[in-house]
Point group: C2
Chain length 351, copies 2
Amino acid sequence: MNLDAVAKKAGVSTATVSRVLNDLKVVKSSTRARVLKAAGELNYHPNLHARSLARGKSRTLGILVSNMENPFFFDIYRALESAAHARGYEVVVANTDYRSEQLVSSVRLMIGWRVAGLAAIVSEMDAELMQVLTDSRIPIVFYDVGTPRKNITNVRVDYKKGMKKIAEYLHSLGHTRMAFVGHHSTLGPISERRKTFLETIAGFTPGCEGQIVAGADGLEGGRQAARELLASNIHPTAILCVNDFMAVGVLRELRDQGIRVPNDISVTGFDNIKLAEFCSPALTTVHIPREQIGRTIFENLLPDSKREQMTGREILIDPELVVRESTGLARKTQGVPGGKEKALAGRSTNL
Amino acid sequence: MNLDAVAKKAGVSTATVSRVLNDLKVVKSSTRARVLKAAGELNYHPNLHARSLARGKSRTLGILVSNMENPFFFDIYRALESAAHARGYEVVVANTDYRSEQLVSSVRLMIGWRVAGLAAIVSEMDAELMQVLTDSRIPIVFYDVGTPRKNITNVRVDYKKGMKKIAEYLHSLGHTRMAFVGHHSTLGPISERRKTFLETIAGFTPGCEGQIVAGADGLEGGRQAARELLASNIHPTAILCVNDFMAVGVLRELRDQGIRVPNDISVTGFDNIKLAEFCSPALTTVHIPREQIGRTIFENLLPDSKREQMTGREILIDPELVVRESTGLARKTQGVPGGKEKALAGRSTNL
DNA sequence: TGTGATAATGTAAACGATTACAGTCATCTT
DNA sequence: AAGATGACTGTAATCGTTTACATTATCACA
């Protein structure tokens, strides 16, 4: 079913049909009606490929996320989409699953679709991909990874500040032995988050120790990491998680092992996803304004922005501590609460 | 950047470039190399709109879901996508947010993109939309809603059986006063789920009572519904939720009101999403094989299926009870545990 | 060296829209 | 009555591919 068929049926030219369908009000209302009737009867739907091709520009935005299952990503996606819809843009989303191979192929797809803009809310990155993107002239917004360049904006949360707030808070509760649970793509030796955590801990009183474990991003990954952590001889009094999603997994494992939160161990998340207030105990976390991030990304993707698009900006977002039930005073003695392990000798804290 | 530019740079015709890019191995390997080099240097990416237009058929599947935030939908989406990728198909997804207005516009979009197939995992439905879809010749699979027709397959879980298993299980634990928490789109007076619940309850010993509350699909909606329920004078001993996602919200509200689960009230979910085993207490629920559903949907979307596509099939999926921690024996007396309400007189159960 | 056969490439017509440009009317003006 | 105006509508080029068909190299063999 194409324009021609409709045109024929309505007894007009394809140009007129096109004008009707695009609401150019130059068309006489009687012909307009005739065309609409014909289109309706034929169950006609414009071929959007042909349309984009002819128009030469699209009103579709692409968004890449690492893990749509993690509500953090989903919330940004939703905010972005709703901002876009409000301005007549469509959004297509692709899940990279933290695999840079998948990222590359998704980017290829998006460029092939000639999206009007591309948002990359991903942790993984690929050096030559950056080049391809820069060359592609598409307006791009990165979240967290990447550096501003021509036609590239970077939205970044001040991760360091958030981490500091959390760590200081825990420290003020008497915690000195802390562990960090992250997922692989945030924990490579080069990763900023890992570094931030270690530096922050190191900045405290000399006796503070920081340890690191990793799992996949998700409930199961969090649980797995907690399991490893507990099986080791680290015995932290607080577990800081890279995000709320994994923290919920951690909570679960602790509960399974009979460890009380926060009495025996404190746990913190990051992001402040909805689930953080619905799990038990509710998570102490750091709020990241995903709604705002989504909107900001959209605005920076728009072609018309009068702020010159070509320089590349960086936008820094300030996270806030949210205290709930999962954190409390550090236990004075560091006996292992689960009970199945031997008591620790001589590793008293510096408090 | 178009084929022509590449062709010129490589000193060949566009036809040859196209052949190289599509891996038609008729091209001499030396020219092939030349073309690839040119394409690379120009940072060329084929325009997929033009491609689809020329080919006249796409390898893209559309999927519509009511609420991507609910892991149930997400899991189906993921399974479908991974099956699709394995066979060289792309997937685009649209969130309808339970709004049939949004559904209509998403369908329009998908048809406009000339998707090779369309999966509708939605609860909302629109009479005339069904007609549009039937007329559109696109292979379609519905989940739960809709009836099989020409070029339409219907995948359906035996909701009745699942509900029955849950209700019978609860009944065997002594529960007679049950409430059902659903979201609006599953609870209209005409909805099958509502009916199923009421019928099942009615099928038990005469004293059994069933009540119904609704909230939005989600954590918050579940909590809200629970709040209403507890504020009313229904005092159920068991709360059956339409899905796990809402059940987690219910759990949260009960905990806030000091009601112990399952000691005071039993709670059940539906779907068996991952979260169901990570919340506290872990949810008794009914397993729905989302992985399998996703794969099944994909297979029925494929054009080549030798099973004649034209008749329309129905596929029924059998759910299984999963007992965890959120259910237990009914309290013998139905005093209100929260303590802030007056005691109930004379409404003893039939046990 | 000519002759098919076969391999490699080129030509040009689709695909289904949009849109600049060029009509065609009917209606006023003068 | 001729010309101007403005309101509609039609013609045809264009967007960037694919692909049937035509054409030209290449090569083995008589």
